[in-house]
């Protein structure tokens, strides 16, 4: 040790060493807590006094009203809302659900749409996707949810292409101009952590209530990943392909149009997939601002505890999500295949022709058999009441009821409430110091500094207690999810067949709109804190399991073989070879779990929480844009603190291990 320390330049004499900084932070925090326990802590050190909290919300309100009214932005946004955007939405609404607007053609018979979905499925992925595509729409019609499903779809078919186009253009701009990219990056990371309620209110205020506001919120929500994927894809185009384009004498526009964008096809299509999935997730959530559709129905059914109907709507949403996801993913991997020379025109376009034929055919047949156009009120196969009774009787079985009730009691009384009260009892400065210490310990200097700044802002926002409650829910849910998810992932990673199946299940589960996760939580635990934690837990466990499996199975085989040949037991191998190498990847999963938890905790406000989400949901009823923003930013800043610390750790670790 002594010789070692002479080799390494000793910096602790000039600047403070890591350990010393950590000690100082933690000791100060504990001193504050101790002081409070003994009762000598002055009140202004426990919580920031009301008088010291700046009126951020009011200031923001004034700023917004200045932009909105004095600068006349409202006229611009209202013009867009009432002009082109509303026109597009009305058109799609007419075609899909038969709203009385131009072009007065709709609604298209469900059978025609199901047929087209089947043909598209076949074109991108063969018979299985054809069955999935057609089956989803047949189910939707048969169960009697066609109209509400089409209300949802009519927003998606407008929002997704617009989000795609805007994302593509912004992505190209970010790739062309480094300055623009540098400006965009922080905005995107805030946007990606901002709770969805914060998207909704400005949309309502600037774009009037109704489908336009929903569409705007949806588009804003879906753009960031499209920008990121576009930039990533363009950066990855092989230099030789670029040089081949240059040597072919391409102008700048030709380079972009014929070389860069087509060569980045894969990443751009992955972006398209994400845009579609985020659109679906968001459209369902626009139920909170009164948008009709699947989300609104689900909200109403869950609110009145109609489990059967909730379950059926849940199945529809899940089917739609899986169909859209599988089809757009199949499109990503689908490569063009050549036709032999001399193939006639009709054969080259065979599939499109069949699709068109079936579409027209079913429209015509539907004129004769009305049931193929619309499934009537009395004709649908919904078993809502029966399922309701079934679910409730299963839940009423003593063994199950006993278990859930005991779990509820145990978690609530023994774990959650004590933990929450402890967190709430910690003086604000001590809490901040502890968070900073954590960020510094995990991520290093930069995340530590940001943690200090971000949490101080939160403290001065005037919503400290609610922020702590939000954080408490996130931490307890993620901790439980880790205890369940990581062992599950480890076990699954042992066999390649199991890990494949579970990965597939996780991928599928990740495509579900977050709303869906509330259904089982409410079913099992009713409307209370435990249900909230439970819904977050399953939502957050998915990425944990997924990345644990990915991390463990991507450990190079020669390393595990080396461990085997060194005579290590399974346990030794896991702890001294596989875990160290998989940890950076697992950290990505952990990070995602935390981000998901922050997202879900806000939605769970619907169940009835006392955190920021609840306040956020309340702002939706009014026009308190400033308050809405302050609350949203609080969530975003807390999420970003963890995001920065953990991703910085994963990156450093990866570099040190020499992985990519």
């Amino acid at each position: 040790m002594a010789t070692l320390s002479t080799d390494i330049p000793d910096t602790s004499s000039k600047t403070w060493s890591r350990g010393r900084i950590l000690t100082v932070l933690l000791v100060t925090a504990f001193a504050l807590i101790l002081a409070k326990a003994v009762g000598i802590l002055p009140d202004w050190l426990n919580r920031i006094p009301e008088t010291m909290i700046p009126p951020t919300a009011q200031v923001l309100d004034a700023v917004f009203s200045f932009i909105q009214n004095d600068l006349g932005l409202i006229h611009v946004t209202r013009f867009i809302a009432e002009g082109p955007l509303e026109f597009l939405l009305d058109t799609s609404a007419n075609l899909l659900e038969g709203k009385r607007r131009w072009p007065h053609l709709g609604p298209i018979p469900w059978s025609a749409i199901a047929a087209v979905a089947g043909v598209v499925g076949y074109a991108v992925g063969g018979w299985r996707l054809a069955a999935l595509g057609a089956g989803t729409f047949i189910w939707t019609a048969a169960i009697g949810q066609w109209k509400i499903a089409m209300q949802t779809m009519s927003v998606i078919v407008v929002a997704a292409p617009l989000a795609f186009l805007l994302g593509l253009v912004l992505g190209i701009a970010a790739w062309k101009h480094r300055g623009f990219e540098r400006m965009l990056k922080p905005i995107l990371s805030v946007l990606q952590t901002l709770p969805f309620f914060t998207y909704l209110l400005p949309a309502v205020i600037f774009f009037k209530v109704g489908p336009t506001a929903g569409a705007v919120a949806t588009i804003t929500f879906a753009i960031p990943p499209m920008i990121l994927m576009t930039t990533l894809g363009l950066k990855k185009v092989s230099p030789e392909v670029v040089e081949a384009g240059q040597m072919s004498g391409c102008t700048r526009w030709q380079m972009l149009r014929h070389v860069y964008v087509p060569a980045a096809r894969t990443e751009i299509l992955v972006g398209v997939n994400q845009v579609i999935m985020l659109c679906l997730a968001m459209v369902v959530l626009t139920a909170f601002i009164g948008m009709p559709g699947l989300g609104a129905k689900l909200l109403a059914m869950m609110g009145s505890f109609k489990l059967g109907r909730s379950f059926e709507i849940g199945v529809t949403i899940v089917l739609l999500a899986v169909t859209l996801d599988r089809m757009s993913k199949a499109w990503v991997v689908k490569q063009p295949v050549h036709f032999e020379r001399g193939t006639p025109w009709w054969k080259r376009h065979q599939i499109s022709l069949i699709g068109l034929g079936l579409f027209v055919g079913f429209i015509l047949i539907a004129q004769i058999f009305p049931i193929l156009a619309e499934v009537g009120r009395k004709q649908h196969l919904s078993q809502g009441k029966e399922i309701d009774v079934a679910i409730k009787s299963v839940l009423a079985i003593d063994a199950i009821k006993g278990t859930t009730e005991w779990l509820r009691w145990f978690l609530n009384v023994k774990v959650l409430i004590p933990f929450r009260n402890t967190l709430l009892a910690i003086p604000t400065p001590a809490f901040i110091l502890m968070v900073v210490a954590f960020a510094y310990w995990v991520g290093g200097r930069k995340p530590g500094i940001y943690a200090a700044i971000f949490f101080t802002i939160v403290a001065f926002s005037g919503w400290w207690d609610r922020s702590v409650i939000t954080l408490y829910t996130v931490i307890s849910a993620v901790a439980l999810a880790t205890m369940i998810g990581i062992p599950l992932g480890v076990v699954a990673a042992r066999s390649s067949r199991w890990s494949k199946n579970i990965l597939l299940a996780c991928d599928t589960a990740q495509t579900f709109p977050s709303f869906i996760y509330l259904i089982p939580a409410i079913m099992l635990f009713g409307v209370n804190d435990v249900a909230v934690v439970f819904s977050i837990l399953i939502f957050a466990a998915v990425p944990l399991i997924r990345y644990t499996i990915i991390g463990l199975s991507s450990v190079p085989p020669e390393m595990t073989e080396a461990a085997d040949m060194s005579g290590s037991t399974r346990r030794q191998k896991l702890f001294s070879v596989q875990f160290p190498l998989a940890l950076p990847t697992m950290a990505v999963g952990f990070n995602q779990a935390i981000m998901f938890a922050f997202f879900m905790v806000i939605i769970a406000a619907f169940i009835g929480t006392q955190d920021l989400g609840q306040e956020l949901q309340r702002t939706l009823a009014g026009t308190e844009l400033g308050k809405n923003f302050v609350l949203g930013l609080n969530v975003s800043l807390m999420a970003l603190t963890f995001d920065m610390a953990i991703s910085s750790w994963a990156e450093q670790r990866k570099k040190r291990l020499g992985l990519d």
Binding site: A244, Q246, M247, S248, V259, P336
Partner: protein, 342 residues
């Protein structure tokens, strides 16, 4: 060869990579080595290279990875902007061209083949080959006709509708070659075109390439890290190391008289008898009395082995391809090479 002006003429070309290479090069004292420059925070991709390529000549640039050969060829086509010196193509300073003129130059005079082919994955063979024609705005019918012609030339007839990933590596490189020839360029750059291929296919493609070159007679700059390939193809070889040219000469001369120790390391293992030609070893006639039938100056010593062993003349007359005697060959010297005894 020296009668016509060179097609490409490079004078004291520098290409430095780093923070502000231009100002660094201006203030750089003469005689700074590659390592000195690196210590200053710059990488010398090309260091003070002067080289000329004559019309119809095949110049092979040989060097190990990182020697700057790819960088140099990218300076010739201005895929890289050079830091110092001048490069003239057909007498025109290419650094003086604006974007439009540069595009025109590439559209009409230059073709390039890449190591990993650089094919556009979303286009069929036909559309890839027709790509440069499409870019310069040729109409659909014309470019299809021309593309089919080059596809036939490289032996890919019947694969026009395939996509690149449906082809083997050798076939993909044929597409790359066809694309670079579509505009009928005067100058043909090939950047390690066969390095990514299996040894057997590589040999086949080299033969194919020699056949094409015999037919087309282009001015060629060919890059390789394979010394045998260089010997096989080149009119002249330029051997590069650390961005500078160590030696630039005909294969015969490089093998017989390596200029530096570095070059000698490459030539050591080479079977000289298969490289050196009679005319390369021959000396001027200078009044020597010559008798008997002359030998073919274009044959390698290895090809002449039987004659050299059976003949008992001390001096053999060497004739060019018209049958005119141009020099004399000392049989002893030739036998030494044949037996590897020099």
């Amino acid at each position: 060869m020296s009668a016509t002006p060179p097609v490409i003429s490079a004078q004291n070309v520098w290409k430095l990579f780093g923070a502000s290479p231009e100002s660094y090069l201006k203030s750089m004292p003469a005689g700074r080595s590659f390592d000195d420059i690196r210590a200053d925070g710059y990488i010398a991709g090309v260091a003070d290279v002067s080289i000329e390529v004559a019309r119809g000549e095949m110049l092979v640039i040989m060097g190990l990875s990182g020697s700057g050969k790819s960088t140099l060829v990218r300076c010739f086509s201005r895929l890289h902007d050079i830091t110092g010196g001048t490069i003239k193509v057909d007498g025109q300073d290419i650094m003086g061209l604006n974007e439009r003129e540069l595009i025109e130059l590439r559209r009409n005079k230059m073709g390039m083949v890449f190591q990993s082919f650089g094919l556009l994955p979303h286009r069929t063979v036909l559309d890839n080959v027709a790509f440069p024609l499409e870019m310069r705005g040729q109409d659909r019918h014309d470019r299809r006709e021309r593309a089919l012609e080059v596809i036939k030339l490289v032996g890919l007839e019947g694969r026009e509708e395939y996509f690149p990933r449906e082809l083997s590596g050798g076939q993909q490189q044929r597409v790359g070659i066809a694309r670079s020839l579509a505009i009928e360029p005067d100058i043909w750059f090939l950047d390690e075109p066969f390095s990514a291929l299996d040894p057997l296919i590589r040999r086949e493609m080299q033969d194919e390439f020699l056949r094409l070159q015999e037919m087309l007679g282009k001015t060629i700059v060919f890059i390789t890290h394979d010394f045998d390939e260089a010997l096989r193809l080149a009119d002249r070889i330029a051997i590069m190391r650390n961005g500078a040219v160590e030696q630039c000469d005909t294969p015969d001369k490089i093998v017989m008289n390596p200029a530096t120790e570095y070059v000698a390391k490459f030539t050591e293992e080479v079977d000289k008898a298969r490289v050196v030609h009679a005319k390369g070893l021959a000396k001027p006639v200078n009044g020597h009395a010559l008798e008997g039938a002359p030998i073919d100056g274009g044959a390698t010593i290895h090809e002449l082995a039987r004659v050299l062993v059976n003949d008992n003349r001390i001096l053999l007359p060497v004739a060019n391809d018209q049958g005119v005697v141009t020099g004399v060959l000392e049989r002893e010297a030739a036998l030494n090479i044949l037996l590897g005894a020099d």
